[in-house]
C-alpha cells in the first residue's frame, strides 16, 4: 500500500518537462556551485521570479535540484584550483587541492562526487521519514546550545590543519578578531567599521575565503615560478579505486549523520557541518598525520557532510517554516510565492508536494553523480594546464567572485587584503583553515554567549541547566584533552612495560 501522495508525486514528476527542469537545475547547480562567488543561494534567488510562472511542483523541483547540485559543485574548484566554489566546500580544499597537486585530481573529484551523493541521499531519506520529529531538534537549540556547539567547533582549532598547534591557535584568534567587525547584535555598537557602511554587517565570508585560498595560492605559485618545474602525469585523470571506497565507508557514514543533524539547526548549514565532518574524519583516521597532505578520507569526510546538510536544512524549512540555510530560506520564499505555507500542516495537507520534493532531490543527487564521475575525467585536465596560464585566469575569476557577491568594491579589497595576508601567513607557516574556522564561529560564539547571559540573568551557572549544552561542553573537553591523555597513558604503559 503506497502512502497518500506517493502516486501523485510520481505522476507529477514523470513528465519530460519536469524531468528536463530537474536536469537543467542540476547542471546549472554544478556550474554555479563551481564558480567562486556564485553560490546556490544566489542561483535559487535568481530563478525565483522565473519559477513563479511554473506550477508549484515543477518550480520547487527545479529549486531543490539546484540546491543539491550547487553544494556538490563547490568541491570541483576547491580541488582543482584551491578556490572553494562555495563556503561549504572550504574543508574539501584542505586535502583536495594537495591531492590535485600530487597528480590525483581525478581521484579526489571522483571521491567528492561519490561521498556527496551518499551524504545527499542519506539526508533526503531522513527528510522523508523523520522530518516532523527531527524538526523538533531545532526548538531545543537556543543560544546556550549554539554557544556550546561553537565551543565544540573551536575545540578543534589546534588540530584542524597540519601546521603547529600554536600557530593554528594564533590563526584562529585572528579569525575571531575579524569576526568582531561590524555592528554588534546585542549592543548595537559599531566596531572597527571606520564609518564604512559596507562594514556594518561585518566582513563577508566569501571574499575572505577567495582571498585566503585562491589569491594566496596564486601568489605562492608566482613565487615558485621558474624555481621548480612541476610535472603532473596522466595519473591525474584516474578515478578512485574500489580500495579507496572501502577505506572511506566509515567516514562517509559518520559524516552523513553529522551533516544531517547540523543541517537541521536553523541557519547553521553546510560550512560548519563540513568542518566537523573533516575533523571527525581526522580524529577517527588511522593515519591522521596524512591529513592536510592529500588524504582521501579528508575529501570524503567534508563532502558527505556538506551534502547531507542540504537534506537536513530542508527539514525545518518544510516542517516548521524555519529555513535551515540561506538557500533553504530562498526555497521557503519560493513556496510562499506559490501560496503554500510550509509548516506542520504541509506534511498533512500536501503529502504529494513533499514526495515531489523528495524525488526531485533524489533525482538531482543521481544526476550530479553522473555529471561528477563523467566530468571528473574532463575537469581534472585543468590540473594539467601550466600554472602561468591557469592562475591568471583564476585571478580574474577571483575578482568576479568577490565583486559579484554584492556588487561592492569593498568586497574586492577585502579579497585582495585577505590574499596578501594569507600569503605572508603561509610563508610563516600558518594555514588558512584555523582563520576560516575562527571567522565562521566568531560571530556565532559571541552573539550566542551574549544572548545566553541575558537569558541566564548574567549567571554562568545557567549553562549547567541545559543538558544539550552540557553534552557539547563535554565533547569539547574530550576533544581538547583526548590527545594529551592518550599520550600520558601511552608513556605510562611504556614505563610499566619497562619495569616488568
Amino acid at each position: 500500500m503506497l502512502p497518500t501522495g506517493f502516486d501523485f508525486a510520481i505522476s507529477a514528476l514523470a513528465n519530460p518537462f519536469v524531468l528536463g527542469l530537474i536536469g537543467l537545475g542540476t547542471l546549472a547547480g554544478v556550474l554555479v556551485g563551481a564558480l567562486p562567488g556564485l553560490s546556490s543561494s544566489m542561483a535559487v534567488a535568481l530563478l525565483l521570479p522565473f519559477s513563479i510562472y511554473l506550477d508549484p511542483i515543477p518550480a520547487i523541483a527545479l529549486l531543490s535540484a539546484l540546491y543539491c547540485a550547487g553544494t556538490f559543485g563547490g568541491s570541483i574548484t576547491a580541488i582543482l584550483i584551491n578556490a572553494p566554489g562555495a563556503p561549504p566546500a572550504v574543508a574539501t580544499a584542505f586535502d583536495g587541492y594537495p591531492m590535485a597537486v600530487k597528480g590525483e585530481a581525478g581521484r579526489a573529484l571522483g571521491m567528492a562526487a561519490v561521498a556527496s551523493v551518499c551524504g545527499g541521499i542519506f539526508s533526503v531519506f531522513v527528510l522523508l521519514f523523520t522530518a516532523p520529529v527531527l524538526a523538533r531538534i531545532a526548538y531545543s537549540f537556543g543560544p546556550p546550545e549554539y554557544f556550546a556547539l561553537a565551543v565544540f567547533g573551536l575545540s578543534m582549532l589546534a588540530s584542524i590543519s597540519r601546521e603547529a598547534p600554536i600557530k593554528n591557535l594564533i590563526g584562529g584568534c585572528l579569525g575571531l578578531t575579524i569576526a568582531t567587525i561590524g555592528v554588534d547584535l546585542t549592543t548595537g555598537v559599531e566596531r572597527f567599521t571606520f564609518g564604512v557602511a559596507e562594514l556594518y554587517g561585518g566582513i563577508h565570508f566569501i571574499p575572505v575565503l577567495i582571498g585566503l585560498f585562491a589569491v594566496t595560492e596564486l601568489l605562492s605559485q608566482a613565487a615558485r615560478l621558474g624555481k621548480e618545474t612541476h610535472s603532473i602525469t596522466l595519473a591525474a585523470l584516474k578515478l578512485p579505486t574500489r580500495e579507496d571506497f572501502r577505506r572511506v565507508r566509515g567516514t562517509i557514514a559518520r559524516s552523513s549523520v553529522i551533516g544531517t543533524l547540523i543541517g537541521v539547526l536553523p541557519a547553521e548549514g553546510g560550512t560548519i557541518a563540513a568542518m566537523i565532518g573533516y575533523n571527525e574524519a581526522k580524529r577517527w583516521s588511522k593515519v591522521p598525520e596524512k591529513f592536510g597532505k592529500g588524504a582521501i578520507e579528508a575529501v570524503a569526510g567534508p563532502e558527505a557532510a556538506n551534502n547531507a546538510a542540504t537534506g537536513g536544512a530542508m527539514i525545518p524549512t518544510l516542517a516548521l517554516g524555519i529555513p535551515g540555510s540561506a538557500t533553504a530560506a530562498v526555497i521557503l520564499a519560493g513556496l510562499q510565492v506559490h501560496g503554500l505555507r510550509p509548516g506542520p500542516y504541509l506534511f498533512e495537507e500536501q503529502p504529494g508536494l513533499i514526495y515531489s520534493i523528495f524525488f526531485a532531490m533524489l533525482i538531482a543527487n543521481v544526476l550530479f553523480l553522473l555529471i561528477g564521475l563523467a566530468g571528473a575525467k574532463i575537469f581534472s585536465r585543468i590540473s594539467l594546464v601550466p600554472a602561468t596560464i591557469l592562475w591568471p585566469m583564476v585571478f580574474a575569476l577571483c575578482f568576479v567572485g568577490a565583486y559579484g557577491l554584492e556588487q561592492s568594491m569593498v568586497d574586492v579589497w577585502v579579497m585582495l587584503i585577505a590574499g596578501l595576508l594569507g600569503f605572508v601567513l603561509k610563508y610563516h607557516g600558518f594555514g588558512p583553515a584555523p582563520i576560516i574556522m575562527g571567522l565562521v564561529l566568531g560571530g556565532l560564539i559571541e552573539t550566542s554567549l551574549a544572548q545566553s547571559m541575558i537569558i541566564f540573568d548574567q549567571s554562568w551557572t545557567g549553562f549547567l541547566s541545559r543538558p544539550v549544552a552540557v553534552i557539547f561542553f563535554v565533547l569539547a573537553l574530550s576533544s581538547i584533552f583526548s590527545s594529551p591523555i592518550r599520550m600520558l597513558f601511552r608513556s605510562y604503559m611504556n614505563k610499566m612495560a619497562k619495569k616488568t
Binding site: S41, A45, L185, H204, A326, A333, L444, T447
Partner: protein, 371 residues
C-alpha cells in the same frame, strides 16, 4: 551564522540588460535613457540575409545618431519606463522584504511592460541600501523598498538620507506585531504578563537593538511601567524557535512569522499592537483597546528619492498597484497570511511614512536614545 546568511547576490541585472540589448548589435551610440528598446525588437523579428543585415546595421547606425541627437527632446516626450527598473532591498534573498518585492514585481513587469530586478544591498538596517540609492540618478529607475528599519535609521540620523528625501510610491504589506507568549505561560492576558514583569524582568525577544521591534517593545514596557530584558536575535525565525524552545518568555511577532503557531495553540497571542483587530485572530484585543497606545507594524512599501519627475512617480505608482492586484501577489499574501487591505497608493503611504518617522523619533526621545 550571520556570515552564512550574507552569502547573497544578484546577477539578474546583467542578464536583463543583455535581453534588452542583444550584444550582436552595436547600439552604443544610442543613449540608454532613450527609446533604444524598439531597435533590437524590430531586428529580432526581421529575417535578414547577411547583406541586408549589414545594410540594416548601417541604417541603424545612422538612425542611432539621430536618436542620439534627439536625446534632448527624449525627456520631454518621456517614454518612461524604457529600461529595467531596479528595486533595492536591504535584506538577503528569501527574507520577507525580498519575497514581497519579487511577488509585486511579477504583475508590475506586465503592467509597465518592462523588466524589473531586485538589487539586495544588505546590511546596517537599510543604511547600505539608502547609500546606494542616494548615489543613483533620481530618474525613477531605482526604487527603494522601505520598512520601519529605514525610518528608524533616519530617525537616529544615520545614513545619507533625511525624511524629506523619501517620496512614497505604494504600500505592499502591513503586518502588525502581536505580543505572544508560549501556550504554557502563566500569563493569559497582557496585564498578567506585565504584572510578571513588575516582579522580575520578562525575557523579551526582539530583532536588532535600536530597530523598530526593540523600540516598540521598550516603549510598551515603559508605558505599562513594567520591566523587560531584551534578548536580540537576527530575525523573526530565530525568535519563533526560541520562544517555542522556552529560552525567551515573550516577543512581538508578525502574523507572517507565527500564524501556524497561534493556530496550533503553541503560542498564545495576548495583544495586537495596532488600532484595529486582525480578521484572522479577531478574539485577540489590541494594545489600544487595553489602554496602551503603542502600535507597531512591519509595513513594507516602495519609495523613490525627492527630485524624481512627478509624472514618472505616477506611472510607477499605477504599475506597482496593478502588480499588487495581480494574482501572483494576491497568492503570496494568502500564503504568507497577510491582509489585502495593506495595498495603498502614494497618498496614504506617504502620509504613513512621515507619521512612522515622527513616532519613531518620539519613542527614541522618550527612551533617551536620542535627544
Amino acid at each position: 551564522m550571520l556570515v552564512l546568511y550574507n552569502e547573497i547576490h544578484q546577477y539578474s541585472l546583467i542578464a536583463i540588460q543583455k535581453r534588452v540589448c542583444p550584444p550582436t548589435l552595436s547600439l552604443d551610440l544610442i543613449h540608454k535613457n532613450c527609446s533604444a528598446r524598439e531597435f533590437p525588437a524590430t531586428l529580432a523579428n526581421m529575417p535578414l540575409t547577411p547583406i541586408k543585415k549589414r545594410l540594416f546595421l548601417g541604417y541603424l547606425n545612422a538612425s542611432s545618431i539621430l536618436v542620439f541627437l534627439a536625446y534632448g527632446t527624449c525627456l520631454a516626450q518621456d517614454d518612461y519606463p524604457s529600461r529595467p527598473i531596479n528595486v533595492v532591498t536591504h535584506t538577503s534573498p528569501g527574507g520577507g522584504t525580498d519575497a514581497t518585492a519579487r511577488s509585486v514585481m511579477v504583475g508590475t513587469k506586465l503592467a509597465l511592460n518592462i523588466d524589473m530586478a531586485v538589487l539586495p544591498r544588505t546590511g546596517a538596517g537599510g543604511i547600505v541600501a539608502m547609500n546606494y540609492v542616494n548615489n543613483q540618478p533620481r530618474d525613477g529607475y531605482t526604487v527603494l523598498a522601505i520598512t520601519p528599519s529605514h525610518l528608524f535609521a533616519i530617525a537616529r540620523n544615520q545614513g545619507p538620507l533625511r525624511i524629506e528625501d523619501l517620496v512614497g510610491v505604494a504600500r505592499a504589506t502591513d503586518d502588525p506585531s502581536i505580543v505572544m507568549v508560549r501556550a504554557d505561560s502563566a500569563a493569559s492576558t497582557l496585564e498578567e504578563l506585565f504584572e510578571m514583569g513588575r516582579r522580575r524582568p520578562i525575557k523579551w525577544g526582539t530583532t536588532q537593538i535600536g530597530g523598530g521591534d526593540h523600540i516598540s517593545a521598550a516603549t510598551l514596557a515603559k508605558v505599562a511601567n513594567t520591566k523587560i530584558a531584551v534578548v536580540p536575535f537576527f530575525g523573526g525565525g530565530e525568535i519563533v524557535t526560541n520562544l517555542m524552545g522556552g529560552s525567551i518568555e515573550a516577543a512581538g511577532l508578525n502574523l507572517t512569522e507565527a500564524l501556524d503557531q497561534i493556530r496550533r495553540g503553541d503560542f498564545r497571542a495576548l495583544a495586537v499592537m495596532a488600532n484595529e483587530r486582525l480578521a484572522v485572530i479577531d478574539h485577540v484585543p489590541t494594545t489600544v483597546e487595553l489602554g496602551y497606545d503603542t502600535v507597531y507594524s512591519t509595513v513594507r512599501g516602495y519609495a523613490v528619492l525627492k527630485g524624481t519627475p512627478e509624472n514618472r512617480i505616477r506611472i510607477l505608482e499605477q504599475g506597482m498597484l496593478q502588480g499588487m492586484h495581480h494574482p501572483s501577489y494576491q497568492d503570496y499574501l494568502r500564503g504568507a497570511g497577510l491582509s489585502r487591505n495593506a495595498i495603498a497608493g502614494q497618498e496614504t503611504w506617504n502620509a504613513q511614512i512621515n507619521q512612522l518617522y515622527l513616532e519613531a523619533r518620539q519613542a527614541m526621545v522618550d527612551l533617551g536614545i536620542i535627544r
